[in-house]
């Protein structure tokens, strides 16, 4: 190992006047920043290991710990900034691919904050959402072109066959986080929250843990390129099956769960031997083109006897609109699009920060394209990747999505501070670690309460925004871009988003 040329990113201080040397910090920090020194009865600090996760600060009973970004800067240089220099140093020391986690943290890919919402004044009334009915129920699945009803007013008979749908009481779902990327306590917390909110949790690929079976009606199972834990019972168990083609944080590349994370528990659900690498190939090897996608969609439908919707998830990329159009024709019921700000448990930094397009652009262009082709009604659209608030949910639906996927927000609700160290497997908040000694920090009963609270809060806010517009049902917001205006956007950006400038 070469000597590191990097200075610590954070400075860690303990106020010795208040510190009682209770060692809570030693126990709480999973990155071994703190150690107890018997000689002198004191806490030693190794600040180069600190990731700024705040676990120690929150759990220090005397609030004696403070962490501040290392004020030492390199000579000011707009091009060669601290992050760039550190990345080069890291690679010079290891020769590897820079690995990171969570979503893209760069500032310049956000359009939500440049979209403004409308409200009713005079010409139609706003609605009081707390006292008048306000409906967020959403059905996801494909819709038929013709709807034939036998001519009988008394008891109408529908002749059009029905395709399966997912019923959501609020248009928010938990996006795919596999067992392995997060632990079972996290998955169970989300499952409980999904059940109590009438929504769904996507468990990613990696099998269905026995503990989750009781929540299966609110679980979406995933088929990805590794086919880990994918079998007949697994496909039958879920409320829907998602084929994962790509992920917003790392479009076009596969995944890799290192052998040390394949514990006995993971081995059992993934059905591979413990300790071996779990490699998810870049492509699905039975899908090399659009007609092959159709083949996998139908293989799953045949296997599940057409009883549940099939979702196809793609990363938001430059030609998403054309791809989406193909997905509609593949027979899929729902398309999920994951924007470039979407999170990941581990991804090469270079992919996370450079590949793909923002979800706002992708949804706008896909919705427009499918409308132009006259097929938008055949499929439902789920938007994911970078949804941070109820207003983001609201805006993405106005841009054309039917519902959205969130995951980072749900993790934050459970304790995550977005320190971007998921890939190390040491998550101090007990979320993205397989280490049972740390993962017990998540108590599904308590954590699910926090997540449920978040969903409830967002749901209330969405109703408020709808009421303000004089709309009392979420379907009247879908694709209703007239309710949006852009600010600080170029003409071209607004054209793609299909919105007009504020004030026009």
């Amino acid at each position: 190992m070469l000597k590191s040329h990097r200075l610590p990113e954070f400075n860690v201080y303990i106020d010795t006047d208040t510190c009682t040397v209770c060692k809570a910090c030693v126990i709480q920090c999973t990155f071994d920043v703190f150690s107890y020194e018997k000689v002198g009865n004191m806490i030693e600090i190794e600040e180069s290991k600190c990731v700024d996760c705040h676990r120690c600060m929150i759990f220090c009973p005397e609030k004696s710990i403070s962490i501040i970004p290392n004020p030492v800067q390199y000579r000011a240089n707009a091009s060669w900034n601290k992050e760039i220099i550190h990345n080069i140093m890291k690679q010079a020391e290891s020769g590897g691919i820079l690995l990171t986690a969570m979503g893209c943290d760069k500032p310049n890919f956000n359009y939500f904050d440049k979209l403004l919402l409308n409200a009713s004044q005079v010409t139609n009334p706003s609605i009081d959402p707390i006292r008048e009915p306000m409906e967020l129920r959403t059905y996801l699945g494909s819709k038929s072109d013709m709807f034939t009803i036998a001519e009988n007013d008394k008891d109408p008979i529908i002749e059009t066959s029905e395709s399966p749908h997912l019923l959501l009481e609020t248009p928010i779902m938990f996006s795919a986080m596999s067992l392995g990327s997060v632990n079972i306590n996290v998955q169970e917390s989300l499952a409980i929250a999904a059940v109590s909110n009438g929504i769904y949790q996507n468990i990613g690929e990696g099998g269905l843990h026995p503990k989750l079976k009781q929540y299966a009606n609110h679980i979406i199972v995933q088929v990805a390129s590794g086919r880990y834990g994918v079998h007949k019972e697994y496909l039958d168990a879920g409320a829907a099956v998602e084929i994962k083609i790509g992920q917003g944080a790392k479009p076009g590349i596969g995944g890799h769960l290192p052998g040390e994370k394949i514990t006995e528990e993971i081995s059992e659900t993934r059905r591979i031997p413990a300790g071996t690498d779990a490699i998810s190939p870049a492509p699905q090897h039975d899908i090399y083109s659009i007609e092959d996608l159709s083949q996998l969609v139908h293989a799953i439908k045949e296997t599940t006897e057409y009883s549940k919707p099939v979702i196809v998830k793609i990363a938001a990329v430059h030609n998403s609109a054309a791809i989406a159009s193909g997905i509609v024709r593949s027979g899929a019921d729902i398309i999920a699009i994951d924007g470039m700000r979407g999170s990941t448990g581990a991804a090469p930094l270079v992919m996370r920060d450079n590949v793909g397009i923002p979800i706002e652009m992708a949804i706008a262009s896909v919705d427009t394209r499918l409308n132009k082709e006259g097929v938008r009604n055949k499929i439902s659209i789920i938007a994911g990747g970078g949804i941070r608030s109820s207003s983001d949910v609201f805006k993405i639906i106005a841009l054309g999505a039917d519902a959205c996927y969130i995951s980072t927000a749900a993790l934050i609700a459970m304790g995550c501070t977005v320190c971007q160290k998921c890939h190390t497997g040491k998550c101090p908040w007990g979320l993205t670690t397989m280490n049972p000694a740390i993962s017990i920090r998540i108590n599904p009963k308590m954590a699910s309460k926090r997540v449920s609270n978040l969903i409830r809060g967002w749901t209330l806010e969405i109703k408020d925004m709808l009421g303000g517009m004089g709309i009392n049902s979420i379907e009247s917001l879908r694709g209703n871009r007239h309710q949006l205006r852009g600010i600080g956007l170029s003409d071209h950006e607004m054209e793609i988003l299909g919105v007009r400038p504020a004030g026009s």
């Binding site: 590897g96 820079l98 590794g226 007949k232 052998g259 690498d277 090897h285 083949q295 293989a299 296997t303």
Partner: protein, 250 residues
């Protein structure tokens, strides 16, 4: 084409049936308690036996379409004719016996069961084959296969006999590329291998497996088992179960 002995079998004529219709009939026959099903006049219908569980025998005459036996869990499927692409995709258990050649990607991601191919296989046969506890998939190829045999292989066994080779060299490159588990056993040489594998001699356990598999092959298709077993085999296994351990910088 009518299959011969059809007295005890539930017969399905696939002529002019759509894929969906045919599979509905097959599933219904299974639900009705039929243990032996014969489908004739199959002409490209896909997903036959998809996700079917239990000890069912399905006899197919004609050419079944892609994804034959996808997610299958137990049945024995016999094809009197060639097969197409992605046979036994992600299958759990059961047997698929092909009296002929097959297309690409046979046995993708299977974690159990047996696939016997009388003749040749296409590209990426056995890609990402896995194994788990008692489940260990096996693919036996009577003839030869094309490139990327056993790519990403994480478990299981691929046995390639090369019965139709004149020079003993399989025209296959990148064999076992990305392999990090399982075993490939070859009769004859290949044109090239992935850098993640190394060649070994067969041990006693390997020899036992090969003998068992060749006898079974002979039972299905008929061949001089003793002659085949008398020839030289070699096995390819991964150098490491962690081939990409030092790829990343944290």
């Amino acid at each position: 084409m009518e299959p011969k002995n059809n007295r005890s079998k539930f017969m399905i004529d696939a002529k002019n049936l759509t894929t969906r219709k045919l599979n509905e009939k097959v599933r219904k026959a299974v639900r009705d308690g039929n243990k032996q099903i014969a489908i004739h006049n199959v002409m490209g219908q896909r997903y036959i036996a998809a996700g079917i569980q239990g000890l069912i025998e399905i006899d197919i005459t004609g050419i079944p379409g892609n994804d034959l036996g996808v997610f299958m869990d137990g049945p024995k499927v016999v094809v009197h004719g060639n097969g197409q692409d992605v046979i036994g995709n992600t299958m759990n258990a059961g047997e698929i016996i092909i009296h002929g050649d097959v297309g690409d990607i046979t046995g993708m991601s299977a974690r159990g069961g047996k696939i016997y191919i009388q003749g040749n296989a296409g590209y990426r046969t056995g890609v990402h084959l896995k194994e788990y506890h008692g489940l260990r998939p096996i693919i036996v190829i009577g003839g030869t296969a094309q490139d990327f045999l056993g790519e990403y292989m994480a478990g299981g066994l691929i046995l390639m006999l090369g019965l139709n080779l004149s020079d003993g060299i399989h025209n296959a490159d990148y064999v076992g590329t990305g392999m990090h588990g399982g075993t490939i056993i070859l009769r004859g040489d290949v044109r090239g291998m992935g850098r993640e594998v190394e060649v070994h001699q067969l041990d006693q356990e390997d020899n036992r497996l090969v003998e068992q598999a060749v006898l079974e092959y002979s039972k299905h298709f008929g061949c001089r088992a003793d002659e085949v077993l008398g020839s030289k085999f070699k096995k390819l296994i991964p150098i490491s179960t962690r081939p990409y351990g030092n790829l990343y910088s944290y």
